[in-house]
Assembly symmetry: C2
Homo-oligomer: 549 residues x 2
Amino acid sequence: MKSFKLGLAAGVLTLGASLVAGAAEVPKLTPEEMKKASQIFFDRCAGCHGMLRKGATGPALTPDITRQRGLQYLETIITNGTPGGMPDWGRQGILTKDEIKLLAKFLMHEPPEPPLMSLAEMKKWWKVYVPPEARPTKPEHNLNWKNFMGIILRDVGKVAIVDGDTKKLVSIVDTGFAVHIFRSSGTGRYFLTIGRDGKATLIDLWLKKPDKVAEVKVCYDARSIDTSKYKGPRGDFMDKLAIVGCYWPPSFVLLDGQTLEPIKIVDTSDYTWDTNEYVREARVASIVASHHDPEWIVSNKEPGKVLIVNYEDPTNLKMHYIDAERFLHDGGWDMSKRYFLVAANMRNKVIVIDSVEKKYVAEIETGVKPHPGRGANFVHARYGPVWCTGHLGSNNVACIGTDPINRSRYAWKLVANIELPGPGGGTLFIKTHPESPHIWVDRPLSAEPKLQRELYVIDKDSLKVIKTINVIEELKKKGYKNIDGRVVHPEFDMYGKEVWVSVWGRKDKPTALVVFDDRTMEIKEVITGDWVRTPTGIFNVYTTTNDIY
Amino acid sequence: MKSFKLGLAAGVLTLGASLVAGAAEVPKLTPEEMKKASQIFFDRCAGCHGMLRKGATGPALTPDITRQRGLQYLETIITNGTPGGMPDWGRQGILTKDEIKLLAKFLMHEPPEPPLMSLAEMKKWWKVYVPPEARPTKPEHNLNWKNFMGIILRDVGKVAIVDGDTKKLVSIVDTGFAVHIFRSSGTGRYFLTIGRDGKATLIDLWLKKPDKVAEVKVCYDARSIDTSKYKGPRGDFMDKLAIVGCYWPPSFVLLDGQTLEPIKIVDTSDYTWDTNEYVREARVASIVASHHDPEWIVSNKEPGKVLIVNYEDPTNLKMHYIDAERFLHDGGWDMSKRYFLVAANMRNKVIVIDSVEKKYVAEIETGVKPHPGRGANFVHARYGPVWCTGHLGSNNVACIGTDPINRSRYAWKLVANIELPGPGGGTLFIKTHPESPHIWVDRPLSAEPKLQRELYVIDKDSLKVIKTINVIEELKKKGYKNIDGRVVHPEFDMYGKEVWVSVWGRKDKPTALVVFDDRTMEIKEVITGDWVRTPTGIFNVYTTTNDIY
């Protein structure tokens, strides 16, 4: 009895205290102001601080903290940023003085509980534009659709499909809001996108003019999507199912792969793997689809667990909850597609999960805030198969041995630590292809404008940077004087001969997609047009389908 | 974008509306009053209405509802009860007028978020009185400990251990608050109890005077506990692990079976299996331990899912989430211990889960609010192995065929519906034993005082009630004039010769344990003493260990 009284008393006292403090010091907001501030917070702040403001990549901003800091302090930080990574929203002109004042006041209030979503609510958002039976049984065009490139046009709410062979624009699809990634269905016929607003889009590449055939919104904040890629003795699941990983509500959602009809919501709120503390806002980061088993590998960020989700029967979901490390973010397969390597970014580690034996294997310190995307795999003469990652916080590409059978000496060890020129980190993506002798590395989040525009080419044998390319300078030499922006997301074509990158500029001005010849490392083609606005991620159908990276 | 704005706006508007409504109409409470009201609510109301007041067995009591009803209405209901099952707390004199007024005011406020508990907080409650290495390697007494009876002395915060052979009191153990159930460890050497306050106690029956050797508190509200009972090719887990199922925080907790050290917390908040709506307060009802596999079968009440939890590696928990039916409550094994039958009480159904193939098998309508305890198993000449349940809301015992191989015609069908005398339901427990020709049925929650005191004996062949026993009247005939109370929880001794029941009276007055001869259905012995206060559940070591019921 006593115990419960104590526990409950503590809870009640907190409530009492916050009511008292609230009455005296917290600036009043009208419902309209709350609504506006909530929206700004969601757009600009929630990604790092969390919808419930309990902190993640950024620090916690709960009222016990913000009320101590005071309005003046909050406004200053929002305006000027911090060296730790907080953007200078005021100085950049992205938020006005009034918006910053409003946001500071909002931060002193209890965070409003963001809305939840049931299956019935999802279905209100669900639209099938072309039902499966009305879709073609073979491609309605003669284009080499396996070499199509899906391009995210981030801030204009669209994606583009470009033919990798001819470099011609095939289609522009209206997806809405900021698309985060593309993934391919098991056969590659469908592209799926997920927006930061939780909207998933299914794009049929066999239509005469590829277009969306279905869409649905399954959460308010999402980052990941994948598809069922297993075909074998346990069934043919190609193109049958999809999964969306949400940030809010904390969940993943199973969808019909042909129509995007939502089937099942799985809560991801959980206890941290180490101290067993409850995390309501436990966000789903990366998801990969197994080729060995009818399973997805799902990273649950804050609790630090990797979930292996068997999708054979959604009414009887079988899951493994593997203790890994906190702050799981992005990750991908090793070359054999048996091991999943995932960054625990705030722990400066990469965690290795065995998808066949379904267990934790190892963890490796690689550098400050590893950000592999899905990583880069190749076979090195000495180390055998390796997997590499770049870093947001340090200027190195780290490579890990991934063959515990034939190269056990190097397995799950750091075998190469390749230094990039210049200070700091800032790398988002690295990419290679089995046919290429190179790894390409970007650096769009460097603090240095010059480095944001650079690409680095690493030689797979010598494990050294053999070329630094300032893409904007190279474009100028070719006569493209007005194209500027950060250079992001190198992507190989299906043959491993070309590397495409985006020039991520301002929304009000078209930029370019730049195609390099992988062997000469020279610009081969520049794709421009009024439609090329805020291009970011580039995804090749063939390599995305087959998890070649 | 639009979608999120809409969603969030709805959330914010709700908040705005509740603030406005709150300011105008909600009676103020001091932090002290909030604390007191929270405690009363927990003690008397949370079991049916939920800690978050979202409703379960009782209706929802969230402020949107309670504020519409108004203070007067709430006070009336709390005082007088309802025909639907709400107790008349005022008329019974359990709550004072002032307490009822306070509770009504409290109900108009937002429910305070009850406290959570991390592993570190649990460990503060954790005590090992006798470490494993200091415990005896064989029993320190010559008593037949496998026939010990564990007796819950509910309202005095203790349990008694009584020798089933001699009927003598062996030990009284201070467990604190209302113990809900006993379970036995795999070998039977340890008794484990769980209190409604989330406190688990480990009692070593081999000590010269059996006593608690460890305790821990793992939640604020709990109902279930079980142990690891698997021994086979995948390991010997006898006495190795324990599990506690919690109501609040919504979770189950894995414990070391020798010391009760908490190992792992698993969140059970989930989406309902059918409409996929989020349930924060998803409560763990029954748990049973598999004898076939290193697994527990866990009923998650509100979401309506049965979880099969593999305990081989707590750092890599493997679970099945089987869609079953909402409002899962108590349940037990069929005779083969392959099938788990569990009541979905507000759905008037029993759900069957196959623990070997780990899947849903069937659902059967049995009557109003089935309450099987663990049920009663026997082999009927015609129907083969059957499993039976009593009902809280209807006066029948329902039996279901459980042999899909040799009696497929009757498997998962209602094969007998045995009527009890008199109106209404009120049965909590039914019990049998393979050596007995009878099933014994209690009725302590009947609305009729006379029926609360009755036991019914059903003949396994004829499937009819062959005797009705008013236990209090029988005691009077034997000269026990002053013993009164509800008669509850028939329990067989290990041999199937005797049936023990509790007379559940008032805390301030000793009552009795009554032992019947199963064959003659006559009183064989009456156990009395000053210690016999508010006895409720009775658990035999042998039958509890081996899941014989």
